[in-house]
């Protein structure tokens, strides 16, 4: 089953740690600098990097769900 990462934009404060750690999946917007998930359903080879990005979010704004719509 594919993995999916979701962000809570009410909680994100634009630390951009996710973008630093896994730019393949995360970027940030030009207005507030909040997370933009470029690739919500990421391939298995990126799982470790995405998990690391999630664990490094100082606000706890990211979450991994298993497949389908979050």
């Amino acid at each position: 089953m594919s993995m999916r990462v979701v962000a809570n934009l009410n909680v994100c404060q634009g630390h951009a740690r996710c973008e630093d750690l896994c730019p393949e999946v995360f970027s940030t917007d030009a207005v507030e600098g909040k997370v933009v998930i470029e690739q919500p359903e990421f391939p298995p080879e990126l799982e470790e990097k995405v998990r690391l990005a999630v664990r490094n979010c100082p606000e706890g704004a990211l979450r991994i769900t298993k497949g389908g719509k979050a």
């Binding site: 951009a16 030009a30 664990r55």
Partner: protein, 405 residues
């Protein structure tokens, strides 16, 4: 004048929570001011305690409480927070406002400090670092504070605000008095001088705007399309002047001091010069371990937090360095691990007031270190260091740091 923001006498504080601690005072023999905070933790003082010094204030020593202090603006406000308490005190924009009013100027500033915006500054920062370091690289020694760490962020400020580089010394002098003077008359005059410079700058940018931050701030309009109050514009300029200078200077001082005494760390960074992602992971660890800011909050109303009574206007200090070495959050918290995988440090705060300049600050430090190591791959502490060159307070650091190579 009626004073509105003064804390009440601490008769609501139980004796067992009263600790004798002055965060401005660095005892003789302490060469690293951060250690006064870790000394408290080692002594086993209560994780939430009150000290009568500096007008009286609480101190939080647990990661969870420090994070709560940042996030729960319903209790812990950023409005009128100085320690010791001073009135009148300027309401700096947007830092001195709680949400939702905070959003007004945060929105003005945010686009200029996003990772995207900061990436566009890279070339300018690189050029500045390269030139500044080349001025003393051949001399085999420098005072890192005077020759680099205070100059670099001030010079960056001038460029971002569209001011002439020739004004560097004037701004260095203004900043030096602001951060280091303890003379009340000199401080009052200095504040007037800074505001006079900001006034002149914003008036000039209003007349002839350029592609700089000062012009963007002065041209910004509120939700109804009206200009922002002039006082708020000045207070926003003031925030950017004071917030991005001393913090960056002293973080750099800590980083270079550590590298000067740690050959393995210099080798680690040198080996990552062509691997920016790994270089940045190591920088994050140095951000965690060298958190120089102690952040102030003011209690908004009489309440209880964690079973402890707080009174309206009580001051609270959130020492980032303590949160960053809380063993319930970090493995081997006092060990510097330049490959640390999970690093949720709070050096730039969390919540709505997360340091808006964090990406710029990190980029300034990262580029400076890259350029430094290219020109000065090996360096050490000079045997002769100035006596009494450490200081505490809201930003901790060094007035002098002599390096040689």
């Amino acid at each position: 004048m009626t004073l509105q923001w003064q804390p009440s006498p601490p008769d609501h504080v139980p004796t067992e929570l009263m600790i004798d601690f002055d965060f401005f005072k660095i005892p003789k023999g302490i060469t690293d001011p951060i250690q006064i905070w870790h000394g408290l933790v080692r002594q086993g003082v209560p994780p939430i305690f009150y000290t009568p010094h500096n007008g009286g204030h609480w101190v939080f020593l647990k990661y969870d409480d420090i994070v709560e202090g940042y996030r729960n603006y319903g209790i812990f406000s950023t409005h009128q927070t100085p320690i010791p308490p001073i009135e009148p005190f300027p309401v700096v924009q947007p830092q001195g406002m709680d949400p939702p009013e905070h959003n007004v100027f945060r929105r003005v500033l945010a686009p200029m400090f996003t990772p995207l915006a900061v990436r566009r500054m890279t070339e300018g920062l690189q050029h500045r670092a390269e030139t500044m370091i080349s001025h003393f690289a051949e001399k085999s020694r420098c005072d890192f504070i005077d020759d680099y760490a205070s100059k670099f962020p001030t010079s960056t400020f001038l460029e971002l605000f569209g001011l002439a580089e020739e004004r560097l010394q004037e701004f260095l002098d203004l900043a030096h008095i602001f951060f280091r003077s303890t003379d009340p008359t000199e401080r009052a005059q200095n504040l007037n001088d800074i505001y006079a410079v900001l006034e002149e700058m914003f008036r000039e940018k209003e007349r002839s705007p350029g592609p700089d931050m000062a012009s963007t701030i002065v041209a910004a309009r509120d939700a109804n399309g009206n200009p922002h109050p002039w006082e708020d514009i000045l207070n926003c300029g003031f925030l950017l002047f004071v917030a991005g200078l001393d913090t960056v200077t002293n973080t750099m001082a800590y980083v270079w001091r550590y590298l000067a005494i740690t050959p393995g760390a210099r080798a680690h960074f040198r080996s990552k010069l062509d691997d920016p992602a790994a270089f940045l992971i190591a920088i994050e660890e140095l951000m965690r371990i060298n958190a120089v800011s102690n952040i102030f909050r003011r209690v908004t109303h009489d309440c209880e937090y964690k079973g402890i009574r707080f009174r309206k206007n009580d001051r609270v200090i959130l020492p980032n360095t303590v949160a960053n070495r809380d063993r319930s959050v970090f493995d081997n918290p006092h060990t510097i691990d330049l490959d640390r995988k999970v690093n949720n440090h709070v050096t730039f705060g969390v919540g709505p007031h997360r340091c808006i300049g964090s990406h710029l600050a990190k980029r300034e430090i990262m580029i400076s270190l890259q350029e430094w190591l290219r020109q000065i791959p090996e360096f050490e502490l000079d045997e002769e260091q100035d006596e009494g060159s450490v200081f505490g307070g809201s930003v901790m650091g060094f007035t002098s740091l002599k390096l040689r190579w």
